[in-house]
Amino acid sequence: MNTSVKQPSSRFRRLGVAVVLAAGALGLSSAVQAAAGKIPRLANGKPDFSGIWQTTSAADYDLEPHANRKDAPPFAGAVEGGTIPYLPKALEQKKKNFAARATDDPALKGYTLGVPRGIYYPEPFQIFQRKQDLTQVFQFGHSVRTIYTNETDHPKDPYDWWLGDSRGHWEGDTLVVDARFFNDKTWFDRAGNFHSDQLHVVERWTYLDPNTIEYKATVEDPQVFSRPWNVGVILYRHREKDFQLIEDYRFTLDYDEHYPPKPPAQ
């Protein structure tokens, strides 16, 4: 090998080291890895989903295929097979929810969005990840969700959590999350698709490329559905300079005058 070949390669390597050092100092190492075409990884080698993500799909309007509606853009649907397999009685409730969606959607009351709705709600959410857990912060309802990846099980005396209790494990480079112990106060979308407190969600998080996550969830609820069903969306990384989450108070502004609560009139 002659020096004319060696020189460019070692210069390139030095440049690479300098870029990584600079990027590390600025906290941009994942962006550099992304530019290099490799998915970002934690020190333990597991994929690192840290970043701000958002779907471009219209799933939150209605998970099922829909068009020609005044209150929703047309959408081919995010449910595998098209429709959600409701039990007959639950389908009646879904129709009632749909008819009353302009007032009854829990999101319009500022309620925490739940799982999986928070993931495909058409606003950004942020992931912070460590070896032992993955934290999701939504810009809605002050919601923070923790997915434990420390090989612990669900608690034995659970509550009825808004975001359930989430325990994850790795299958190769896919994060598989088992979420259960929910309350029945959230909807899946603004079309009135709903669940009971028996909801059980199994999510699969996989990088398609350094800036794209494939998100899939299997939804099960024997009180509401005749069988488990699958929903999926693609999530894109926000790469705008200085992009950040801002809490969304749209739906509670009208109540501001009542808070903090005033003492009772004497």
Partner: protein, 140 residues
């Protein structure tokens, strides 16, 4: 105590620390409940929702005319209930309880539980709104 149960307790504590500050300030007693309408009801538990910022306990209550009415009571925060030894296992669906509290201002079958006597005779105090009658914030 196993490492796992320590962890669960730690997580629960973290949840408590994160949840109770907004829970106390969540809403005023007077916004929803009427201090002039004390009520006392006996019934059969139909549902216990252990939800933050405060749980809800639902009862079927026999009416004088023989019918049954379902009542919902604002109950303690899940962690404060756990501290008092109240979980889904100790307050199961179908158990008998009696509740002293205050009725909702909207006149519907809702109320604010102050003292709940469980099937085993234990009395559990709940209700932490600062403006609730006879309440101290610490009583939650």
């Amino acid at each position: 105590m196993s490492t796992k149960s320590k962890l669960v307790l730690g997580l629960a504590l973290a949840g408590f620390l994160g949840a109770t500050v907004p829970a106390n300030a969540h809403h005023a007693f007077s916004a929803e409940f009427d201090a002039e309408q004390p009520i006392e009801l006996k019934g059969t538990v139909t549902k216990l929702e252990l939800v933050n910022p405060h749980s809800w306990l639902y009862l079927d209550v026999a009416q004088p005319d023989g019918s049954v009415a379902n009542w919902g009571f604002e109950f303690g925060a899940p962690f404060s209930l756990k501290e008092k030894g109240v979980t889904k296992a100790t307050l199961p669906v179908g158990s008998q309880v009696s509740i002293q509290g205050y009725r909702a201002k909207n006149g519907k079958n809702f109320g604010y539980a102050v003292t709940t006597v469980l099937a085993d005779g234990r009395a559990v105090k709940t209700g932490g709104a600062q403006d609730a009658p006879g309440s101290q914030a610490a009583a939650q």
